[in-house]
């Protein structure tokens, strides 16, 4: 019998096909592979499961060794966030058509083009920007590319990056810009916002994040935009679109490029598998020309009133020009773009406002609850969205104590700092549970020391 995944593998089928071709064996087709490159033995791999249920049992057995965030009470964030994923998002991205399509033309894949066009269009409304790309890999990549775009646009080779950026992300940005562009760091102020910003006309861009790595909302956007523009640099803002129902879109205070990750908009955490990046700009030809990624646009068809779709300004991409294109483009994270579109269509303006309000309110509630529990909450006077920092005597000890209570208490960002994340998925009761557990843990450890 043939394997269920390989219809033509049976000896009879093979023989008939070989006969039709006029070949004696499949080996013939490998004739160009020199003997000394041929693997003379079977691959040494684990024995497979010939039946589906065996495979299921094996995989489920492995999965059972995980404890997920519906079993534990998780306050982990730091770039991957536990927002509620509407069932409709999963329904749509689970459709075989979307899940298994790839790179068809805008005829047979009209739906794919439309869904992605709608995604970028809804992002455009949220961002108040006219140009948004089809998703790139993730927010790290998006930031790196946005800064490279700024460098090409300005013809300069230096960028100033807010110090309030996640170290991993900063590392990726540095690596990505390394060959051409120098990365300098701006200090972080006492408030948790970006501090003193020193820019001159050698800088291509200032990169600001809001909410930043510590959940602090930057409030000096307009001032920083003006400063950057005054020296001919661009303001590049990293943000999470889920905040934009309540936070001003960066374009409104002068950002030239906006970028970030859309995992919040309908993607499960998936152990980090739900990331996808966006970059947005105004509709200025010179800026558009710097996008490496695909841009989908509406085009007329032979029939009046039909919406066709296609690639905007294709001849800037590496698909068209290889190394002469802008950076590179390839398969990235389109399905998450479609999913984020579904999310935004479900939420609408009202839903985005409400979720923002709820996260703001619960974050503040959590900060106060934890401050009352004996931990030091940093940047208490600043505005926070979704995340904040606890300072404690021993981050590892605290997290271990919480873990014992079935709580993933937050991300350890230093030996004495824990980043706590609160979303609309955390009820007030959940927050109270955390606060009580922190109080217990801190008082117990106090007893111990």
């Amino acid at each position: 019998m043939t394997h269920p995944y390989i219809p033509n593998a049976g000896p009879a089928a093979r023989a008939a096909m070989l006969a039709e071709i006029g070949a004696s064996s499949v080996e013939e087709f490998y004739g160009d592979i020199p003997a000394d490159l041929r693997l003379a033995r079977p691959l040494d791999l684990p024995a497979p499961f010939a039946d589906e249920q065996g495979l299921v049992r094996h995989l489920r057995g492995l999965l059972a060794r995980n404890t997920d965030t519906t079993e534990a009470l998780s306050f982990l964030g730091h770039g991957c966030y536990p927002h509620h994923v509407p069932a409709v998002c999963d329904e749509v991205n689970g459709r075989g058509e979307f899940l298994t399509a790839y790179a068809g033309e805008p005829y047979e894949d009209h739906g794919r083009f439309q869904a992605l066009f709608e995604y970028v269009s809804m992002m455009g409304e949220l961002l108040e920007m006219d140009v948004v790309n089809v998703p790139t890999y993730d927010g790290f990549q998006a930031a790196g590319t946005a800064l490279r775009m700024a460098a090409r646009y300005t013809g300069r080779r230096k960028v100033l990056v807010s110090g309030a950026v996640a170290p991993d992300k900063l590392g990726t940005i540095r690596g990505y810009l390394a060959p051409d562009i120098e990365v300098l760091l701006a200090p972080v102020a006492e408030s948790g916002e970006i501090g003193e910003v020193g820019l001159d006309d050698t800088f291509a861009a200032l990169y600001l994040e809001t909410p930043n790595v510590h959940g602090v909302i930057e409030t000096r956007g307009r001032q920083l935009a003006d400063l950057a523009h005054s020296v001919g640099a661009l303001l590049v803002v990293g943000t999470d679109p889920i905040s934009l129902g309540v936070l001003a879109p960066p374009a409104s205070y002068g950002a030239d490029l906006v970028c970030g990750d859309i995992q919040s908009l309908g993607m499960h955490q998936q152990y980090g598998g739900g990331q996808a990046g966006f970059i947005a700009s105004r509709d200025e030809e010179r800026l558009v020309a710097e996008f490496p990624s695909r841009l989908f646009g509406i085009a007329p068809t032979a029939v009046e009133g039909e919406y066709g779709f296609g690639d905007v300004f294709y001849d800037r991409t590496s698909f068209a020009l290889r190394e002469e294109g802008k950076e590179w483009v390839g398969t990235a994270a389109a399905l998450w773009g479609i999913t984020a579109g579904v999310y935004l269509a479900l939420m609408g303006p009202q839903g985005m406002r409400e979720i923002g309000e709820t996260i703001l309110a619960r974050t503040r509630y959590a900060m106060r609850a934890l401050a009352s529990s004996g931990a030091v909450v940093l940047h208490q006077e600043s505005l926070h969205f979704r995340e904040f920092v606890l300072e404690v005597p021993d981050a590892d000890a605290l997290l271990a104590a919480l873990r014992a209570e079935g709580i993933f208490g937050g991300v350890r960002i230093s030996p004495w700092r824990v980043l706590v994340c609160v979303t609309e998925r955390h009820s007030i009761a959940d927050i109270d549970t955390l606060a009580a557990a922190v109080k217990d843990a801190l008082s117990t450890s106090g007893d111990r020391t």
């Binding site: 999965l63 890999y137 993730d138 060959p179 129902g245 309540v246 296609g310 309110a361």
Partner: protein, 492 residues
Amino acid sequence: WDEQIVFELSRPGRRGIGVPAPDAPLVELPAGVGRSTPPALPELSQNQVVRHYLRLSQETLGADLNIDVGQGTCTMKYSPKVNDTFVRDPRIAELHPLQPEDSVQGVLEIYWRLEQILKEISGMARVSLQPGAGSAAIYANLSMIRAYHAARGEAGQRDQVITTMFSHPSNAACAKVAGYEVITLLPDADGYPDLDALRAAVGPRTAALLITNPEDTGIFNPRIREFVELVHAAGGLACYDQANANGILGITRARDAGFDLCHFNLHKTFSTPHACGGPAAGACGVSEALVPFLPGPLVDREGESYTLNSPTGSVGKIRPFLGVTPNVVRAYAWVMALGAEGLREVAETAVLNNNYLMHKVLRIPGASVPWADKRRVEQVRYSWQELAEETGVHSEEIGIRAADFGVHYWTSHHPYVVPEPFTLEPTESYSREDLDEYAAILAQVAAEARENPEFVRNAPYNQTVHRIDATSLDDPAQWSPTWRAYCRKHRQ
């Protein structure tokens, strides 16, 4: 369906989902920080959202629905449905990437196991599963190449990367991003990358050779070891783009040919779904010498438990967190459903299917294949040059007409070294009847092109929309990369 744009379906006051109320005092935001006008997102009820997107899905020709042998080099194989069930399980879907290691032993074990499998398939010392797709894996490999030479004090000196025209454009483009000058080898008279050109190009400035084999033409370069040795002799590294690995699984291995780095596309060879263009997943395999530079962290096994560790000279993170976990899980499950013997059957059947299809396609008047005397492995880049000369109908137009029959194909990347190209790769997933049907559709369209070129040129006829006029897409005054741009430019 004649489905409107989602904004056109909007009516004030509707919504698709409820959101939890704050249950705590609202936070007031100062002017300029808070949003002053609500975003002009569409307002729809949930039923409408479902209907809209289900209709759009039906207007998308997924691999599940068609004989998807025409997206050559993409390895459109069947993505087993059972593997999707694992990644929808909350014990994958609801895992946070920064959970304590002891709460994610299952997923770490899967990473570790898949790495062992890919090590065996490639012969490499270690494999990173972090990159988000094939091009990201190419970029990751280039980052390691750069770090390797830097560690040897040759960062400044080695500023050139050599690649071939029939390798994916990202090999050239990522090299450029990584700071390298790119030298591209053209095919020689036999269709192989030009060895003399390599001899001329290689030298003390050579950082690496990035090469695909079989190339996108489907031709396996039998002198590949010579290529590698030439580069090694010059102090460069040899990096194997294994996007086309499907036909050689268990047949030949990257490391055995001397390569220092390689990468696989899990969404091609290892069956994870292409997802409209990602999320995908790439895997970078390297020899012992490059292990210190791998993106981190990697999963190590200690007794029965699994831990995360970063290589000493790691290039850092190519992507946030550990990788595209759902695809890592799917790829692992796929291998575990096949085993060594099954993988070899995959390879052999894919190659048989490819040669069978080539046999059929070459009987279509007007279709040809360059370097016809060369054997083909996993795919073939064909040409409609004869047909185009005879009828004036171009390959793109034939492909669009083919869509009317429920299939599609891809021409090739630019530039069109093969004139009027089309690239077919049947993989192991399609049956003989599927291949016969596909070839019959191409034959039918070719016949139509001869009888009535205008008819083909004006296709499609039974798709959602008719022939698109793409000129506006390249005109800054008209292009509309979002609905708001469209309304501004075309609806005033």
